[in-house]
């Protein structure tokens, strides 16, 4: 259960203040499939980063499964990012010069998954996103779309309760985008909570609820 109330994020660069999120409050119940839409600069990604425990809000509260995220220690946050939340970055963020397989294995290394299980699990999820023939390619040998699918496989590999995806189909051809959405839908049916950012209405249509953001506010 995700509950945010009066969430505000202000970026300060020198003397310039940018309000990225302005008093945002909402609740996402377990098992929901939510799309977040809005023009660029509306604070979608900032919201997503806070939900993913990758960044802290300037003010307001984020309660994840009854825990106030601001009060957690660095290591507790790492634990949450590792086990509870799968995050698909808009810019993929793969380790450079490292194979797709190794990239997908990485979260399991930090979770102390037994070594013998890691590769097997990683291969399973790479197959799921349609990359079984690219497992041993390093990230710079993959196209944007392929890198995005590696990022999705990496977000899923720990079987997290919550999947947060920032434009997960932004660089993927529409046929494959539909494949990815089918995976998301299936995961959602299995009980996973899914929150994704998109600007394509037909992708947003896969979600059960849509939150619209504009200028850091919910509209």
């Amino acid at each position: 259960m995700i509950k945010v109330s009066h969430l505000t994020k202000i970026y300060r660069i020198g003397s310039v203040e940018t309000v990225a999120l302005d008093d945002v409050s909402f609740t996402i119940k377990p098992g929901e499939f939510v799309a977040i839409m809005g023009p660029s600069g509306s604070g979608k990604s900032t919201l997503m980063h806070i939900l993913g425990a990758l960044d802290l809000p300037t003010s307001g509260e984020y309660i994840l499964d009854g825990q106030k995220v601001q009060n957690l220690s660095d290591d507790e946050l790492a634990e949450i990012r590792n086990k509870k939340i799968g995050f698909v970055f808009q810019s993929y963020n793969l380790l450079p010069r490292t194979t797709a397989l190794k990239n997908v294995i990485l979260p399991m290394v930090y979770a102390d998954v037994p070594k013998t299980k890691r590769e097997e699990t990683a291969i399973k999820y790479l197959k799921l996103v349609g990359l079984s023939d690219r497992m041993y390619h390093t990230s710079n040998q993959l196209s944007g779309g392929q890198q995005q699918r590696v990022a999705i496989a990496r977000a899923l590999v720990m079987n997290p309760a919550i999947l947060l995806a920032d434009e997960p189909t932004g660089n993927i051809a529409s046929v494959q985008a539909e494949e990815i959405m089918k995976i998301f839908k299936k995961l959602n049916q299995q009980g996973h909570t899914i929150v994704m950012i998109t600007h394509e209405p037909d992708i947003a249509a896969w979600a059960k609820r849509t939150i619209h953001l504009k200028d850091g506010k919910i509209v």
Binding site: G52, L54, P96, R97, T98, M158
Partner: protein, 407 residues
């Protein structure tokens, strides 16, 4: 994630980023290697000087005449005409002087020497047979000047190896050949063993002739430049110095030691004069070593800091995927240790072999001080580890998204 796995992971990261790893290791290699080689060279030169002085004989006193008003010791040694063969005879035969074993009167000066078409300007030393004993001169071939040669003013010469090479070429036995000095023809009867080159290798670049022939026919003088005295042991050097000093003062009818027209120097005196010089030299080399240590250190620091941007993103990503701070710091620390250890080992081997070949090429004794290795590895290692670890620690304190956005 256990320790062995972490080390393996670090090794894998290092091999993936060959350029970065290579540059970092190179920085450490140069830092450590140059310091070791420079210090080794400095110590080798110092040792060469000390060995050379010791090879002159440890219980040797040199009495030199001192020219009138030209002040103390330097410049005037051998310049005067106050020492005579009679002085040497008197020192040798006087019963009051109990500390000496042998006396060698000498006259030396530079002259042009020719042999066939070759010629060289070298030190001509007029000697008695005792010279070879007192100065620990041994012969590579032929024989040394005998008392008979001195008595009958035979025109013979013994060459130092350098003089022989200059006159007859390398690896040629000059015995039986002739040389010309001051219009006189001398027959070569021997060649001495090298006492080592380097600083003031005058024993090698010299021509020894019978004292009488040198004094009268080559230089046309009646005085000596110096008298070498061998004492009975090295412990009584100071006593010998005093005995001979007061004896000669009395003989020269002088009352005040300040007015002495001669100087008595022991090897100890020469050693301390020279060690002042080598001390400066060592300080210079130490300075150069310190600078190269600094340069090497800055090299290491640079490559570590240059990769910070990329590595900060990597740290952000690893944290985003669930890596705890401790794991990240360990990872970077282990990477830095592996880099430093590899670079340190190669740098050490390279530094040692460089100093080996350099000392061979410069004919210096080969010495490696363990302290120089410890210093080089200590400083470069510390720099490598600190600058590998510190930026990582800083980055791991950022929120993952801040680290991912770092530019």
């Amino acid at each position: 994630m256990n320790f062995i796995e972490l080390v393996k992971d670090c090794a894998a990261t290092l091999t993936l980023n060959k350029m970065r790893t290579g540059l970092a290791v190179l920085g450490i290699i140069i830092g450590i290697g140059s310091v070791i080689a420079l210090i080794a060279l400095g110590q080798g030169s110092q040792k060469a000087v000390e060995q050379q002085i010791q090879s002159l004989g440890s219980n040797l006193l040199t009495i030199s005449s001192r020219g009138g008003s030209s002040g103390p010791v330097q410049g005037s040694i051998g310049g005067g005409t106050s020492l005579t063969l009679a002085d040497a005879e008197a020192i040798k035969t006087n019963k009051a002087i109990t500390t000496i074993a042998d006396v060698s009167p000498e006259y030396s000066g530079r002259r042009q020497v020719t042999a066939g078409r070759n010629n060289t300007n070298t030190q001509i030393i007029g000697v008695y047979p005792q010279y070879a004993v007192i100065h620990k001169l041994s012969l590579a071939s032929g024989s040394f000047i005998t008392q008979r040669d001195v008595d009958s003013m035979t025109k013979v010469a013994v060459l130092g190896p350098q003089a022989a090479e200059d006159l007859f070429g390398a690896n040629v036995d000059p015995v039986g050949q002739t040389i010309r000095v001051q219009g006189q023809v001398l027959r070569v009867i021997g060649m001495s063993v090298s006492k080592g080159g380097g600083f003031g290798g005058s024993a090698d670049d010299a021509v020894y002739a019978p004292f009488s022939a040198a004094q009268k026919q080559l230089f046309g003088v009646s005085h000596l430049t110096s008298i070498s005295v061998e004492t009975k042991s090295s412990e009584i050097m100071t006593r010998a110095q005093d005995e001979i000093g007061y004896f000669l003062l009395a003989r020269h009818k002088l009352n005040d030691p300040e007015d002495a027209d001669f100087v008595i120097m022991s090897q100890q005196d020469i050693l301390s004069t020279v060690s002042q010089v080598t001390g400066t030299f060592t300080a210079l080399l130490g300075g150069i070593a310190a600078i190269s240590l600094l340069v090497g250190g800055i090299g290491i620091m640079n490559i570590m800091l240059v990769t910070v941007t990329e590595r900060t993103r990597e740290i952000g990503l690893r944290k985003a995927l669930g890596a705890k701070k401790k794991i990240i710091i360990y990872q970077f620390l282990i990477e830095a240790v592996i880099l430093t250890a590899a670079g340190g080992l190669i740098g050490m081997l390279l530094g040692i072999s460089a100093s080996y070949f350099l000392s061979k090429a410069l004919s210096l004794p080969f010495t490696i001080a363990p302290t120089s290795i410890a210093l080089a590895i200590g400083v470069s290692g510390a720099i490598g580890i600190i600058f590998g670890w510190y930026p990582a620690r800083k980055a791991s304190n950022l929120q993952p998204i801040e680290a991912l956005r770092y530019e």
